[in-house]
Amino acid sequence: MTLETLAGWSRRLYARDISSRELAELYLARIDRFDAQLNSFITVTPELALEAADAADRRIAKGERAPLLGLPVAQKDIFCTEGVRTTCGSRMLEGFIAPYTATAVERMNLAGSVMLGKTNMDEFAMGSSNETSHFGAVRNPWKPDCVPGGSSGGSAAAVAARLAPAATGTDTGGSIRQPAAFCGITGVKPTYGRVSRYGMIAFASSLDQGGPMATSAEDCAILLNAMVGADSRDSTSVERPREDFTAGLSEGIRGLRIGLPREFFGDGLDPSVRAVVDSALAVLRERGAELVEITLPNSSLSVPAYYVVAPAECSSNLARYDGVRFGHRCESPRDLMDLYTRSRAEGFGAEVKRRIMIGTYVLSAGYYDAYYLKAQKVRRLIANDFRQAFAQVDVIAGPTSPEVPFRLGAKSADPVKMYLSDIYTIAVNLAGLPGLSVPAGIVGNLPVGMQLIGNYFDEARLLNVAHQFQQDTDWHTRMPAAFA
């Protein structure tokens, strides 16, 4: 059977060509058959999926319509799902059954989606390769000895191998876009505040943002429609007029001004990735877009600023894991201090501890100004660079990642090298802007992504450009042969 997009499955569901139960069974069977090779799911929820599918079938039978009605999706295991284990890729939450459901998931459920399970991820979303997961690394479906990217590596691998037609991710420094690029799918990091963070386990609260991952821009638009919206339970979620992200997909892009930051095409960029991005940009120029060179002069400071701001917020957020109220607790603690220190030492992996310690240090007395305050000022410089750029152009384009997917273990021993994998994505989070990655080509059987960055709340335009690109290219329809 052809593995359709969400839009395609939705049409077939309404045409009664397939039932939601059959559709869920189809993907559950694929997970069963293929996921041992990938490790993209931490928890599969077949009973819940079939129950939700049956409910969707009853609604369809009554003639009801809803944006995601009957469509299977996978949820990143960072989103709390009531009654279902929610681990965040950590031993700390290995046995944590969430007592409530994240708003983003709740909205997707109300729109009729059918959850297949919870996807693997870097521990507490801290990683760019999915290797920090307590539940083991995820493999790239295009080449099993390569990483799928991270932190939403499980979601990306699952969608790429068509073990789910779509999934959610979260992006704090590139965690939707980089794995989307590495696995050859489309992923959107919305403007900060678009998607409620309620029930999305916190890493760095001023940067974290949930978003959709799917095979096409159209499917991302469909998912985004269901995910966004102000939430009284997240005071940083933004009140905006209702928008239909699918409405403008088919508009032309003639006259669109696309900025190419000089800094994104410099020395650190793999020439084969550059060649792919250059030909992708040529496709957009063919469609009538105008390519304009721009500059983001403080780009090189974005990774250093991020590795002060994000760990500072992480050390504060992860202070809640105390071995008392929920999460891992050590055996036979001697006293309260022993309970805290040992529960945390046993529950967290090395990368999480490293970031907690960086954050603790930069926020400690005597170092706050030298590190944290300075990084926050640099953060504004970076946001100002984008502000100036968007005075000249409509969108910004470049590579998502400086290289093709690297081999498992290649960077595990060198944190700074790993951090630099996000060199083109991190500035977008610091500024709070929307960004997406689209499949733009293949190099040596490994996918390459192109990143599009938009002005605040300009997701519709990004999706429009990506959709137009996907009218002239078929990279997004390719899938790794082993999973056909």
Binding site: P99, S235, V308, R344, K374, K377, L381, P415, V416, Y456
Partner: protein, 95 residues
């Protein structure tokens, strides 16, 4: 900037993380490299720049001060490692 393992132990204590001597050594290496990397920020021209804490410079919304949540103590304590009679149990704090 370089950290030695004593400094790592001090930070780990502040962060309530138990570290062995061996781990303190290992973390000292990795953390020193990261702090060295972050020193690039020293080159930034930041005089007169306001620190940015929130991407949209938005302010906290206020809501009316009314009770909106119901009592779900048992529901939430169901995920706790050790509770008794509605109380979280920890090792004795006061002798």
């Amino acid at each position: 900037m370089s950290l030695n393992s004593d400094e790592v132990r001090r930070i780990a204590h502040l962060a309530r993380l138990a570290v062995s001597d061996r781990e303190a050594e290992l973390f000292a290496g990795g953390l020193s490299e990261i702090f060295h990397f972050v020193e690039a920020l020293d080159a930034a021209e930041i005089s007169g720049i306001e620190p940015m804490a929130h991407p949209l410079d938005a302010e906290q919304r206020l809501r009316p001060d009314v009770v909106t949540e119901s009592d779900q103590r048992e529901h939430f304590q169901a995920v706790a490692p050790l509770v008794e009679a509605g109380l979280y149990l920890v090792p004795r704090v006061i002798e």
